[in-house]
Structure formats: structure tokens, C-alpha cells
């Protein structure tokens, strides 16, 4: 029997936004275990708590109640900067590349952050860019010289370069045309199924949901259906 490795476990997570007038539970008693080698889609209407959940999975915030555990360790007790550098990475709808760095420099950034030497970082970055279908012609281009699809590929290459085992994607096809969107979904599926990453996609796109191994439907911060 194949061994199932739980990468990320979300246990009864509650996240509350408060202001002077009211408090809103953006995530309310959410529990789920994400495994390696699978593509998950988190769907739900705007304001259902998807992005808040994503920010906790990404280590950009910690839950007010409950826990998010990576490989059994509660993120509350982890160095979150290191967690984001080594274990988890995020791909955004708006690509979010460094505008003044070339494509390859963008991919090299997380490697430099880990203190990897320039030569080694460049070789890894080239490999990652090739793995998402970008050849040497793209290396020296600034993001402004790339199409949306190409920019998203660079963002994925950068995510892969960090060697994180969890890839989080927030509406990764939101700014892409249908064809480019399909290509990106293809890459994400490949990463989950063939390269054993745990890929979690937050999306409105039902096309992605149909390709996912599991779809988590959120409403008012709760997990409604699985």
C-alpha cells in the first residue's frame, strides 16, 4: 500500500479580523490535511476566507485559534521566514516578479537568499526555467518584456527553485487567457502528480477544480464540502 505523507495539516483553525465596530471570522473552525503528490483546489465566493487561509498556509500569518502544522510542526513555533524560504512557496495571480530583475535573476532570488553561490544558483535557475518551457532567449528579459503566460512561468520556475515541497497558488490563471491558463494548470498538475509536490490552488476557475484531486469548497470561512 502506498504511504500517504501529510504535508500540511490544518486543525480547527480560526482567524478573526477585528476593527472598532465589529469582528469577522474570516476562517472558522477549518480542518484539513494536505498530502504530497496531489493538486488541491480551494474554491468559494469572494470573502469566503480562501486568501486568509492561504496566507496562514504560506506562513504569512498564524491562526488565532487552532494550528497549521508542516510535517507535524506547528507554524506558530517555527521561524516563518525560514519556513517560507525552504518549505512553502506562493504563486500569485499578478505574477509578482521583481520588475527590475531579469527573468533569470528573478528565479535566482530565492537561491541567493539561501546563500547559494552565484554560479550554482544560475545553473539551477536555468534548469528550472527550462522545466517550465522557457529557453535561454528569455533569461535576460525584464518582466515587462514578457507576456502574462511567460511571467507566470517565470513565477513557477522561481517557486520551483526554492525547493519548497508545498506550492500555493492564488488565482494563478486569473490574468491569463484560456490557452495560457491551461498550460499553467498543466504545469501545476505535472508538479503534483509527476514531481510529488503538494500543490494547493485557490481559484474561482472551475476548470482548475475539475483537474484537481480534491476540491475544498469554502463558505463563510468554513469548509463546506470536500
Amino acid at each position: 500500500m502506498e504511504k500517504v505523507e501529510k504535508m500540511l495539516e490544518v486543525n480547527n483553525v480560526v482567524y478573526e479580523y477585528r476593527n472598532k465596530y465589529q469582528s469577522v471570522k474570516a476562517v472558522n473552525d477549518f480542518s484539513f490535511a494536505f498530502e504530497r503528490g496531489k493538486l488541491y483546489a480551494i474554491v468559494g465566493k469572494s470573502g469566503s476566507g480562501k486568501t486568509t487561509l492561504l496566507s496562514m498556509l504560506a506562513g504569512l500569518d498564524v491562526p488565532k485559534e487552532g494550528s497549521v502544522c508542516y510535517s507535524g510542526k506547528d507554524t506558530k513555533h517555527m521561524d516563518l521566514d525560514k519556513y517560507r524560504r525552504d518549505d512553502v512557496t506562493v504563486i500569485y495571480q499578478d505574477f509578482n516578479l521583481f520588475p527590475l530583475l531579469t527573468a533569470i535573476e528573478n528565479v535566482m532570488y530565492p537561491l541567493h537568499l539561501k546563500g547559494i553561490k552565484d554560479k550554482e544558483a544560475r545553473a539551477t535557475a536555468e534548469k528550472m526555467m527550462e522545466s517550465v518551457g522557457l529557453d535561454a532567449n528569455f533569461y535576460k528579459r525584464l518582466p515587462s518584456m514578457l507576456s502574462g503566460g511567460e511571467q507566470q512561468r517565470v513565477a513557477i520556475a522561481r517557486a520551483l527553485a526554492s525547493k519548497a515541497s508545498v506550492i500555493l497558488a492564488d488565482e494563478p490563471t486569473g490574468n491569463l487567457d484560456t490557452e495560457n491558463g491551461k498550460n499553467i494548470i498543466g504545469i501545476l498538475k505535472d508538479l503534483a502528480h509527476n514531481r510529488n509536490y503538494c500543490v494547493i490552488v485557490v481559484t474561482h476557475d472551475l476548470g482548475i477544480a475539475s483537474d484537481a484531486d480534491a476540491v475544498l469548497n469554502m463558505k463563510d470561512g468554513r469548509l463546506v464540502t470536500e
Binding site: D61, D81, K82, R84, N96, L97, L100, H112
Partner: protein, 402 residues
């Protein structure tokens, strides 16, 4: 953050600077303009201070001690110990005091002899003084013998000025006369250092030796005055004089308290400053205005550093949020943003200093201290602004960016 990461972050900063030239030039220009402004203000203050010093040095103030009613400056009959105030350097600024003119009352009954075997003769008058009088004072001229200067009269050494006719009767290079106060006193040898053309046998001695040896009168000072060569110290000297003398006032009130010599306050000092105030007031006023402006420039520097950094990082929030989401620590983000501002402001400041020294041909390095203060203020403002960047809410910015 490891050493290699630090170097990479610095390289990242340099890349950003070099690939966004318009913004970099704008930031350099801001630092450059402020630096030149600081230099010009500091240089102007420096020049104004120098001219003030030069005015002070050109103005001599003649201080005169007068009677309690501030009417008469002669026949004061002031105790001789007042001379110690100056002779013992009580002011602590003796270097700036010249033309000390202290003269004693006339002493009669002193006798003199050319040698101790000779016949004693009665002197006309014996007067102690600290200066060589001009002709107008006694109606005849005075001169020092070769090898002597007027300053010997300031010391306590027994020296004297005798009628030239008297000197003709004395042979030898180092002519002396012997003087005593009365027939029961011993003769004291007085070296002759000058002559006068008076007809009477009047003898003038150094004031100190006169009051110690040739006068029974404790109240022996006839007149008292001196010149303050550098007007800069007039307030200091005035504050010291107030401890011994009455400050002149329109009311003319006379106090009967004791002064620091344990003597009644019954003499007045007069320090006529002439048009000194008219000359220095405009310069001091200019300096004061600049001194008021200067701190504002530094406060402005903090604000400018803050605003410039705020504006230059305003459109880069997403970039810093990406850094944070990729695992860059807050301190590293702060370091990166601060490093860029640091490099640009250093370039701007160095260029500003260069332009200032070329345009104004300045040879003073004093302005550099002010520039350093400015730099510290500017970077402080920058740090406050950049700190906000390091504290940003990553997810909020990412969503706002979409």
C-alpha cells in the same frame, strides 16, 4: 542573514539603482541640493563669525575708573591694592589688556642721593605710575633710556624716571639713584630707566615699588584705567569689574556694600563702547537668523529623508511584499531599502560637497561637520520611512495589487 546573502542584497540594491536611473537621479539631486544649502548656510555663519571676530579685534575699549558719582577720574585716592586686580591677572584675560594706566598721588618728603656717600637731597615730588606719560599730562616730555621699555613700569622692580638734568650728573652705564621715604628709612637703589624734561626734581617710579617703598598713604591711587584690546571680552570684563566697582547707572544710586577686596564699593567703572554695538549688532543679527534657520534645515532634513524615502518606496510595496513572501526577513528588507537610500544619499552628498567647494572656493572643512549632521538627520528620516516598509502586511498588499 549570512554574509553571502548580505552581499547579494547589496548587489540587488545596486541593480535597482542602476536600472531605475530617473528615480535614482531624483534622489541624488534631493540630497545634493540639501547638502549645498547646508554648506552655504554653514559657510555664511562661519564668514559672519570671522567678521565679528575681526570687528571685536579692531575695537579697543578704554576702561576708566571714576569716583562714586561718575564725575571725576582723577584724585581718586583709591587703595593701592586695586592695582592687584590687574597685575595679578584676576581677569584671566591679561593678554587682551593693554595701556594699563595707574598713577599715584604725589608723595612729598622723599629724598634721594646719587650715591650713599653723597648728600641727600629732597625730591620735588615722587609719583608712581605704570606708563610713560605723554607731554600733555605733566606739561613736559618723557622718554625711556635705550634698552628699556615702558613695560618695566608695570613690574615691582624699583625703576625710575628722573629729570634729564639729574641724569647728566650721574656717570656710568647703569645709572642708579638711592631713594628713601624719610630719614629713618633705608635707601633703596632705583635704576634709572628714563628721563623727563621737567625743571623740578620730580621723580617717577614704577607704581608697585612706589606704593611698597615710597608712600605711607594706603589710598595712593590717583587715577586708574586700562584698554581692552578685544571688545569680544567686554561683557566678561564688565562682569568682573562689577565685583569691585559700581556699575554706572542713570539713577546714580550709590551702594555701600563691600566688594571682593572687602572694601566699600565707592568707585565706578566706565566702559565706553562707542559705536561698537552699531557695528556688531547687524552681524550678530545675521548670525542669529542663520543659527535659527540651521536647526530647521536639520529638522527639514529628517522630514526630507522621510518623504523622499516614502515617495521612492511607495510604488515598491509589492516588491517588498514579494521579498517577504519568498522568506526574506524583515531586517533584510529594511537593510535592502535602507542601503539603496544610503548609497544614493552618499552620492548626492559627495557631489553636493564637490559642487560647493568648486563654486565657492571654500577652504574651510568646518562645513563638513554640518554635512555629517545633515546626513545623520536625513538617514534617520529615511530609517523611519523604511521601517514601515519592513512592517507591511504582505497578503494585504498582494491582494491590493491584483
Amino acid at each position: 542573514m549570512g554574509r553571502r546573502t548580505e552581499i547579494y542584497i547589496m548587489k540587488y540594491g545596486i541593480t535597482n539603482i542602476s536600472r531605475n536611473m530617473p528615480k535614482s537621479i531624483a534622489l541624488i539631486a534631493a540630497a545634493l541640493v540639501l547638502t549645498i544649502s547646508i554648506c552655504i548656510i554653514s559657510q555664511t555663519i562661519f564668514i559672519q563669525r570671522q567678521s565679528l571676530e575681526s570687528v571685536y579685534a579692531q575695537y579697543a575699549i578704554n576702561v576708566t575708573i571714576m569716583d562714586e558719582f561718575c564725575i571725576d577720574e582723577t584724585n581718586l585716592r583709591m587703595p593701592s591694592k586695586y592695582y592687584d586686580i590687574i597685575s595679578q591677572n584676576s581677569f584671566g584675560i591679561k593678554d587682551y589688556i593693554t595701556d594699563i594706566k595707574v598713577r599715584s598721588i604725589e608723595s612729598r618728603g622723599c629724598s634721594y642721593a646719587f650715591d650713599l656717600n653723597g648728600e641727600a637731597q629732597l625730591a620735588g615730588s615722587v609719583i608712581g605710575l605704570t606708563y610713560l606719560p605723554d607731554e600733555s599730562e605733566f606739561g613736559y616730555s618723557f622718554s625711556m633710556l635705550s634698552g628699556y621699555t615702558e613695560s618695566v613700569l608695570l613690574d615691582s622692580e624699583p625703576v625710575c624716571i628722573v629729570p634729564s638734568t639729574m641724569l647728566e650728573k650721574i656717570s656710568g652705564q647703569n645709572a642708579v639713584i638711592y631713594m628713601r621715604l624719610g630719614e629713618y628709612n633705608d635707601y633703596i637703589s632705583y635704576k634709572i630707566v628714563g628721563t623727563h624734561e621737567g625743571e623740578l626734581n620730580d621723580i617717577y617710579c614704577s607704581f608697585k615699588s612706589y606704593s611698597e617703598n615710597l608712600s605711607r598713604d594706603e589710598y595712593s591711587i590717583y587715577s586708574f584705567g586700562f584698554a581692552l584690546q578685544n571688545a569680544k571680552y567686554n561683557e566678561d570684563v564688565a562682569s568682573i569689574l562689577k565685583r569691585y566697582f559700581i556699575e554706572p547707572s542713570i539713577a546714580g544710586a550709590v551702594t555701600r556694600e563691600l566688594n571682593e577686596l572687602r572694601l566699600p564699593l565707592k568707585f565706578t567703572y566706565v566702559m565706553p563702547k562707542g559705536n561698537l554695538d552699531d557695528v556688531i549688532k547687524p552681524i550678530e543679527s545675521d548670525i542669529q537668523k542663520l543659527m535659527i534657520v540651521e536647526p530647521f534645515i536639520f529638522i527639514l532634513s529628517v522630514a526630507t529623508g522621510f518623504v523622499v524615502s516614502l515617495l521612492s518606496t511607495k510604488n515598491r510595496k509589492a516588491e517588498f511584499a514579494i521579498m517577504r513572501s519568498l522568506g526574506t526577513g524583515k531586517a533584510t528588507v529594511f537593510f535592502e531599502a535602507f542601503f539603496e537610500q544610503l548609497v544614493l544619499s552618499i552620492i548626492g552628498i559627495l557631489l553636493g560637497i564637490g559642487v560647493f567647494f568648486i563654486l565657492y572656493q571654500s577652504d574651510t572643512v568646518l562645513v563638513l561637520w554640518k554635512v555629517l549632521v545633515f546626513f545623520a538627520c536625513y538617514m534617520f528620516g529615511t530609517a523611519i520611512s523604511v521601517l514601515n516598509i519592513a512592517m507591511l502586511n504582505v497578503m494585504k498588499i498582494m491582494k491590493a495589487n491584483e
